[in-house]
Each structure stands twice: as C-alpha cells, then as structure tokens.
Symmetry: C2
Subunit: 174 residues, 2 copies
C-alpha cells in the first residue's frame, strides 16, 4: 500500500508533521484576519463580554504576540516593539493609548508577511532546533522546546482568544 | 553537541514531535478540567456571555467531542453516543434534556481515561497512519490526515472554547 511506503519514511513524516503544524497556524491566522476584518471599529471597541477584554485589546494582544515570535524563532527583531507595553505588559483599560484598528491591521499584515517569509525559508531540520529563549543545556535535556513547538503553542493561544473574539460577531459561530 | 545528535536523528524527532502534540493536548485538558471543576453547577448553567452558549452546553460539547475521538482514532466505540444529539447535532437551548454537571464529569473522566490509555499504547509509527474517517486513497494523497493531526485539531478546538469558558470565572484570566 502506498500509505505504508510514506509512513515508513521518517524523513517524509517530518515534512508531513511540519505541514500539519503550519496548516493549523495558517488556518487560525486566516480565521482571525477574516473575523477582525469583518468587524467595524465600533464593534472592535466593544467588550467581548461584560467586564472582559475589548476586541481591540485582544486584536493588539495577538498582533504583539505574533511580533514577538520573530526574535523567538530567530527571524530578527520585532517590527513594533512598542506593542509590548500596550498589549502584553498592561491589561486592557490601562489608560495607555492604543493604535487605531487601521494601524493595527497594517502592523499585523507587515508582521505576518515577515513571519511567513521566514517560515517559508526554514528547512525541515531547522524546526527541531531550540528557539532563542531556551538555553543549550536546557534544550539538550528538553528537545521538545524547539521552534516548531512555538508554532503549536501560539496556535493554541490564538484559538483561545479567537473563541472570545467570536463573541463580537452578531450571530454566534459555535 | 548533544542537541545536534538528537536533531540529526529523524526517529528521535518523531518521538519529540509526538510529545509536543500530546503535551499540548494534555495541558489543555488539564486546564479545562481545573476550570470546570472550580465552578459550581449554578455558574456552569450561566451563559458564557449574553445570548451565547451556556457553560454546561460547552462542557457537554467538549465531552462529546472527546468521546467521538475514540472511533476516529480507532480506539473503539464511543462510550456515550447519546451526547452527540444533545451537544453536537443540536445547539444550546434546544429543549433537549442535558445530563447534570456531575454526570458530565463522570462521563468526561471515563472517556478521558479510555483515551489516555489507548494513547499511551500507540506506537510512534501508528500516529502517522490515517484516522478512520479518511479513505485509503485520500490518505495516500494527503498523508497529513493522520491520527496525530486529530490531536492537533482537537487541542485547538478545546483552546477555542476554553477561552469562552474562562468568562464564567469571576476574575478574568487573559
């Protein structure tokens, strides 16, 4: 059987599971972009639920997290380091001035274009090297703390907040 | 360097990768269990946000999805097939009688124990075989539609609803 041939080849398996992880990452980013781009600035300014984070805070939070992936994955410096204080260090409603929705969209698209470009250039073996915040000693003991694991964790983080952002949409997709 | 030795071995990579995926799955289930078990029946009966799914509906939905993983992964029949109609086919507030929170917890723990037991027995190569709902022909063309991918997708699905269930907790964990 053809399937058996594919599965007995561990190098092919490696490419397959990198694809699995990247497909999930890309599909969740696409869902996030579609959701955010379908909402007005007014809708995004609303709280996702009473006394919970606003849509624009979660939007900025997710953009800041994607930006911070650049140095963690060894792809270079963050493009918008000022987002850290606004959307990572401080909680929502902190009297810190936020960028507008249009600015955030611009940042997001630039950050995601840079991320995608570097992701596309990474060779299969590179994904299994340590990310930049794990020490060589720790990585030797814990080889799962690699670059691909960052993508898995960030996809789950994105899905978590996507569930909350969905509450800004008038009809509830489960 | 030790890390280089580990990373040049694709068979070791495969084990590392399976661990990454299973760690994320287990940690999200642990977060869900802790969250749900820390809420009263009254809190779980509330809507996660105005006019959105109730906590108990999402609880049952996640239990039903885990149960349905048993046949998809080839681990046997579902333990509680009656959950499908209540929590998958029908939306919330459908006038269908729901199990109590205590019954759902019992179901969840039995289902998760069965899942964990089979997951623990699966050999690395087994994870890269097709799940039971993909045809042999499709799988030959799309080898990413394997058992491990089910775990990746179900972890993201769990994270999505976990973000919503977090709104039942009095203080908002981001």
């Amino acid at each position: 059987m053809q399937t058996q041939t594919i599965n007995s080849d561990t190098s092919a398996d490696k490419k397959v599971f990198i694809k699995m992880v990247l497909d999930a990452w890309e599909s969740h980013n696409a869902r996030f972009n579609k959701l955010a781009d379908g909402l007005t600035e007014e809708q995004l300014s609303a709280e996702t639920a009473p006394d919970r984070n606003s849509g624009i805070y979660l939007f900025g939070h997710l953009v800041a997290v994607n930006d911070a992936m650049l140095p963690i994955l060894g792809f270079g410096e963050r493009l918008y380091p000022q987002l850290e204080q606004i959307f990572l260090t401080n909680p929502d409603k902190s009297n810190v001035e936020m960028p507008s929705v249009n600015e955030l969209k611009k940042y997001r698209d630039e950050i995601n274009a840079k991320l995608s470009s570097f992701i596309g250039q990474l060779q299969p073996a590179d994904w299994f090297t340590g990310h930049t915040t794990v020490s060589a000693d720790d990585f030797a003991r814990e080889p799962h703390r690699n670059k691909l694991n960052i993508i898995i964790n960030r996809t789950n983080h994105l899905a978590y907040h996507l569930g909350q952002l969905a509450y800004l949409v008038k009809r509830n997709p489960l």
